[in-house]
C-alpha cells in the first residue's frame, strides 16, 4: 500500500507537529479563497457576451475593469461578516444566536407555527374526497381562464414551452423519479412522436399507406415509442444504471443523426413542413386547431389531466410500490419476487410513450419540424426541469417545469437566452448538493435521500454510490 500505517508508532512530539497548523492553514482562509473564487466566477458569468472578433472581449470587460474589484470586495466583506460577525455578535449581544436571528426569529417562529397548523389542517382536508375534487376543479378552472388574461405572445409561450415541457416532464418523472433510471435520450422519443405525426399525416417525402388525422396518430405514436423504448431498454436495463444514461444518450444522437441525414425519408436538416393540425371532423362537428394558440392550450391541459390521473393511479398501485422497492434496494426487491427488469422496462416504455404524445402535440402545433427541434440539449433540459421540481413528486415536477419553462421567456430581455444552459448547469450542481429532493419533494424520495445520507440505503436504481460509501 501507499502509506505506511502501522509500522511506526507516532510519538507525542510528531503527533503535535502534525496537528500544529500554520496560521494560513486555518480553514477560514480556505473559505476566503472559496468565496473570492466564487465572486470572480460570478463576475465572469455576469459579464457581457463574447465577441466574434476578439476572444478577450468578454474577459476584458469582466476581469479587466473595476467590476471584478467590487465583486472581490463584496466577497471579502461577506466573508468577514460570516467569519467575525457571528463570534462578535455572540460575545457582545447574545450567545448561540446568529447575528440575524434576533430579527428573524419573531417573524419566523409564528410563521412556522401557522404553517405547521395549516399543514395539519390541509392534511385532514386532503383526505376528504370532495375537497380534493373541488380543489382540482378550481385549479383546472383557473388554467382554462389563464389564456384570456395573457397576450398572444404569452399564450404561445404557454403552449410551446410550458405545456409541451410539462407533458414531457410528467413522462420523464416516471423514469427518473419513480423508477430511478437516468434517461438522457428522452427527446429522442419526442422526435419519434413528431416524425410519426409528419409521416402519418403525409408531410414527409415518403407517403404513408394511408393518411391519418393527427388525433389518430397519437395511439400510433404511442405504440411506436413503446416499441422503440422496449427495443432499446430490454438489453440495456439489465446493465448498471449509468450505462443506461449513456446508451440513451447515444440513442438520442442516432435518432438525431438519422433525422438529419436520411434526406429521402425525413427531408434532412431542411425539415418537414405542412404537418396537419389537430382537427375533429365527425358528423356535425367540424373543428380545426389553427394558428391561435389558445385551443391548443385547452387540448394540452386535457391530455395532461388524463395523464396525471393515470400516473397518480400508477404511483399508488403495485407498480408504483414496486418501483419504489427497486429504487431503494434492488436486491431485496428481487428477492421479494419483484421482477426488477420488467418493472424498469415498464417505466422506461411508459415514459417513452408519453414523450411520443408530446411529440405529436408539438409537431402538429408547430406544423414544421427539423432535426434542430430535437437537440440533445432539450433532453438535458427536461432532466433539469424534473430535478428542479422534485423528481418523484408529480406536482413538484409540473410546477417546477412550468416555472423553469416560463422563466427564460420572462427574463429574455435582461438575461441572454443563450446563457440559459449555463445557469441551468449551475442550478443542477447546487440542487444536487443542497436540495437533491427538489423544489416540492415527494415524501418517499425525501425519506430515501436522508436515509442514503445516513448510509442506510439507496435512492436510485443504480446500486452502490460512486466512490463507495463514505463513513
Amino acid at each position: 500500500m501507499t502509506t505506511t500505517t502501522t509500522d511506526f508508532a507516532p510519538t507525542a512530539a510528531t503527533l503535535a507537529k502534525l496537528r500544529r497548523k500554520r496560521w494560513y492553514q486555518h480553514p477560514m482562509y480556505g473559505r476566503l479563497v472559496g468565496t473570492v473564487a466564487a465572486a470572480v466566477l460570478l463576475d465572469v458569468m455576469s459579464g457581457p457576451q463574447g465577441s466574434r472578433e476578439d476572444v478577450f472581449f468578454s474577459l476584458d470587460k469582466s476581469l479587466g475593469s473595476m467590476r471584478v474589484v467590487w465583486w472581490i470586495l463584496g466577497a471579502v466583506a461577506l466573508w468577514a461578516v460570516m467569519e467575525f460577525g457571528k463570534p462578535l455578535y455572540q460575545r457582545f449581544l447574545g450567545p448561540k444566536v446568529g447575528p440575524l436571528d434576533r430579527f428573524t426569529t419573531p417573524v419566523t417562529e409564528p410563521v412556522k407555527a401557522v404553517t405547521a397548523q395549516a399543514r395539519a389542517k390541509t392534511a385532514d382536508l386532503r383526505r376528504i374526497v370532495w375537497v380534493r375534487l373541488g380543489f382540482s376543479a378550481v385549479v383546472i378552472g383557473l388554467l382554462i381562464l389563464l389564456p384570456n388574461l395573457l397576450s398572444t405572445f404569452w399564450n404561445q409561450v404557454l403552449v410551446n414551452e410550458v405545456a409541451i415541457y410539462v407533458l414531457l416532464a410528467i413522462g420523464l418523472n416516471v423514469v427518473i423519479g419513480w423508477a430511478g433510471l437516468l434517461d438522457l435520450g428522452f427527446i429522442a422519443f419526442f422526435a419519434i412522436g413528431a416524425y410519426s405525426t409528419a409521416y402519418w399525416t403525409g408531410a414527409m417525402p415518403v407517403d404513408p399507406p394511408f393518411k391519418l388525422n393527427a388525433f389518430l396518430v397519437i395511439p400510433v405514436a404511442v405504440a411506436t415509442c413503446l416499441l422503440a423504448g422496449l427495443l432499446l431498454g430490454a438489453p440495456t436495463l439489465r446493465l448498471r444504471g449509468d450505462y443506461l444514461a449513456i446508451v440513451t444518450l447515444g440513442f438520442h444522437e442516432i435518432i438525431y443523426l438519422i433525422a438529419k441525414n436520411a434526406d429521402g425519408f425525413t427531408n434532412g436538416p431542411r425539415g418537414v413542413q405542412g404537418i396537419s393540425n389537430f382537427g375533429i371532423h365527425i358528423g356535425p362537428i367540424d373543428y380545426d386547431w389553427e394558428l391561435d394558440p389558445v385551443p391548443y392550450w385547452y387540448l394540452l391541459i386535457g391530455i395532461a389531466t388524463i395523464l396525471i390521473i393515470a400516473f397518480l393511479r400508477l404511483e399508488h398501485s403495485r407498480v408504483g410500490r414496486a418501483w419504489t422497492a427497486i429504487r431503494e434496494d434492488e436486491v431485496a426487491a428481487s428477492a421479494t419476487g419483484v421482477p426488477t427488469v420488467k418493472f424498469k422496462l415498464m417505466a422506461f416504455a411508459i415514459g417513452a410513450s408519453t414523450s411520443g404524445i408530446a411529440g405529436v402535440a408539438y409537431a402538429s402545433k408547430a406544423r414544421f419540424i427539423s432535426p434542430e427541434s430535437f437537440l440533445l440539449l432539450f433532453s438535458v433540459l427536461v432532466v433539469a426541469y424534473v430535478i428542479f421540481g422534485g423528481m418523484g413528486s408529480l406536482w413538484g415536477v409540473i410546477i417546477g417545469t412550468a416555472f423553469l419553462a416560463w422563466l427564460p421567456q420572462y427574463m429574455k430581455d435582461w438575461v441572454d437566452p443563450n446563457d440559459r444552459f449555463m445557469y441551468l448547469g449551475a442550478l443542477l450542481i447546487i440542487m444536487m448538493i443542497y436540495r437533491p429532493q427538489g423544489l416540492i419533494p415527494s415524501v418517499r424520495r425525501k425519506r430515501e435521500l436522508s436515509m442514503a445520507k445516513a448510509g442506510l440505503g439507496d435512492a436510485d436504481a443504480m446500486s452502490e454510490p460512486a466512490g463507495g460509501r463514505m463513513t
Binding site: T3, T5, T6, P10, L15, L18, R19, P27, G30, R31, V33, G34, T35, A38, A39, L42, M45, S46, P48, Q49, S51, R52, K61, G74, A75, L78, W79, M82, S151, T152, F153, Q156, N160, K260, N261, D263, G268, P269, R270, G271, Q273, G274, L291, A366, R367, F368, I369, S370, E372, S373, M411, D413, W414, V415, D416, N418, Y423, A426, I430, I433
Partner: protein
C-alpha cells in the same frame, strides 16, 4: 484494524469545503439578481427596437408604424444577418431623420438564430405586433421556408434580401406574402457553371452541399447547369456544423476533379477550405453568397486564398453608386458594409417608399402587400421589381475572389465571361 486519525486530516478540509459553499451560495443568489439587472449594457442596446433612432422623439400625433426585421442575429453564421440588420436600420434612421414622413417609423428585430425551428416563433413575434406592416427578411432560405406559411396567413409582406433558394417562390408552396429582393440561386448556380465551363474550361467538378435548404438548392442548380455545359459532375453532401472536413477533402482530391463548388455558409466553408489545402487540392474552388463574408477569410486564414465567391450582390465599397451609403454606414456602425448591407438598405427604402405612398390613409398589411408586389424601385444596387409569384425580376450575378486575405471584387459574371 483502524487507520490512525491523522490520515484523515483531509477531513478537516471536507468541513471547510462545505462551509465555503455555504458562503458562496448567497453570493450566487445575489449574482443572479444582479446579472438580471445588469446585462443590458453595451451590445444589447443595438438589438432592442428602434428607440435609438434620432428623429423619433418629435412624433407628436403622427401615427407610428413599424418595419419588422427577421434574421439570424446570434449563433452560427450571424454575420450575414447583422450586415442586413445594419443596412435596414440605417435606412429607417435616415428616413426618420429627414423628418418628411407622415408617420413615425420604428424598427423591430426578431432573431431566428438562422434556425428553422426558431424561425416560426420569431415570425410569430412580428405577426403578433399589429404595428408591423412589413418585414425585411428572413435572411436564410431555411427559416424563410419555415416561417412563410404563417406570414402568408397573416398577410404580412416579407421582402428577403438574401433567401435565394429557388423553390421559395414555387406557387405550390403558397407563400403569398413572400417577395424576393435578390436574384435566386438559379442565377448564382448558373453563373458558377458558366464561369467554370466557359472561362476556366474545366472537365470535372466536385459539388458539395451542406444539406440546408440553401445549399441543396444552389448545388442542384450548379450541377444541372454544369451537366448541361458538358462538364462531368461528382457530388456529396456534408451536413452543416460537421467538425471534420478532412475525409471529404481527401475524397475530392482523390476524385481527380479539376474544380470544386461548396454550397454552404462561411462557418463551414472556412474549416473546409483549410482541410482542402491540407489535402493538397489546388484546383479552383467556388462558393456562393453564403460564404461571401470577411469572416470566411478570417476563419480560414491562408486557406481562403484564391477561392471564388459569387453573389447576387455588388460590392458597396467599390461601386460608385453606393459611395454615400458606405460613408454613412461606416460612421454609424464603425465598420465597412459587407455582403447584403446595401441590398438590405435598398429594400428598407423600398418599403418606406411604399408606406409613404399611402399618404394620409391608414396603412394596412394587406395594402402594403399589394403595393409592394406592384412596386418598382430604383435602389443604389439595382432596380427592385417583382414577378407575380414574388420572384425578383432580373438576374445578375457578381463574382469575387479572395486574394491576400481580402475578398476582391471582380465584377459581373456575364461581362467577365464575355456574353
Amino acid at each position: 484494524m483502524r487507520a490512525p486519525n491523522f490520515f484523515y486530516k483531509g477531513l478537516g478540509f471536507a468541513v471547510l469545503k462545505r462551509r465555503v459553499i455555504k458562503i458562496a451560495l448567497p453570493i450566487a443568489a445575489a449574482a443572479l439578481v444582479l446579472s438580471a439587472c445588469g446585462s443590458d449594457d453595451d451590445g444589447d442596446k443595438k438589438k432592442d427596437g428602434g428607440s435609438t433612432a434620432p428623429g423619433n422623439s418629435g412624433g407628436g400625433n403622427k401615427p407610428t408604424w413599424t418595419i419588422g426585421f427577421q434574421a439570424g442575429l446570434s449563433g452560427e453564421n450571424a454575420q450575414l444577418g447583422i450586415n442586413e440588420e445594419n443596412g435596414a436600420r440605417l435606412a429607417v434612421e435616415q428616413a426618420n431623420a429627414k423628418g418628411d414622413l407622415p408617420f413615425t417609423l420604428k424598427f423591430k428585430t426578431s432573431d431566428d438564430e438562422a434556425s428553422e425551428t426558431k424561425s416560426v416563433s420569431a415570425a410569430q413575434k412580428l405577426i403578433d405586433d399589429s404595428n408591423v406592416v412589413a418585414v425585411i427578411g428572413p435572411a436564410f432560405s431555411g427559416p424563410t421556408k419555415a416561417a412563410s406559411p404563417n406570414y402568408a396567413k397573416a398577410k404580412l409582406a416579407t421582402v428577403s434580401p438574401s433567401a435565394t433558394n429557388p423553390s421559395l417562390t414555387n406557387p405550390e408552396n403558397n407563400f403569398t406574402a413572400f417577395l424576393r429582393g435578390a436574384p435566386n440561386d438559379n442565377a448564382q448556380g448558373g453563373g458558377m457553371a458558366k464561369y467554370l465551363s466557359k472561362k476556366l474550361q474545366v472537365k470535372k467538378v466536385f459539388v458539395v452541399d451542406d444539406k440546408t435548404e440553401y445549399g441543396v438548392g444552389l448545388s442542384k442548380v450548379a450541377k444541372d447547369e454544369l451537366t448541361k455545359a458538358g462538364v462531368q459532375v461528382v457530388s456529396d453532401s456534408v451536413p452543416k456544423a460537421t467538425p471534420d472536413y478532412g475525409p471529404i477533402s481527401t475524397k475530392i482530391k482523390n476524385s481527380g476533379a479539376d474544380a470544386m463548388i461548396y454550397a454552404g455558409y462561411y462557418q463551414d466553408g472556412a474549416p473546409f477550405a483549410k482541410k482542402l489545402k491540407e489535402a493538397g487540392f489546388n484546383g479552383p474552388k467556388f462558393s456562393g453568397d453564403g460564404t461571401n463574408d470577411a469572416q470566411f477569410v478570417s476563419l480560414a486564414g491562408d486557406a481562403a486564398n484564391d477561392w471564388f465567391l459569387t453573389c447576387p450582390c455588388a460590392d458597396a465599397n467599390v461601386e460608385a453608386a453606393t459611395k454615400q451609403f458606405t460613408d454613412d454606414y461606416k460612421k454609424r456602425f464603425n465598420t465597412n458594409p459587407s455582403t447584403y448591407s446595401a441590398e438590405s438598405f435598398d429594400i428598407a427604402n423600398l418599403v418606406i417608399d411604399q408606406m409613404k405612398s399611402f399618404g394620409a390613409e391608414k396603412i394596412t398589411r394587406e395594402g402594403m402587400l399589394t403595393k409592394l408586389k406592384g412596386a418598382s424601385y430604383k435602389g443604389l444596387t439595382k432596380t427592385f421589381k417583382f414577378k407575380q409569384n414574388g420572384e425578383f425580376d432580373g438576374a445578375t450575378t457578381f463574382i469575387y475572389q479572395v486574394k491576400g486575405g481580402k475578398i476582391g471584387y471582380m465584377g459581373d459574371i456575364d461581362q467577365l465571361v464575355g456574353g
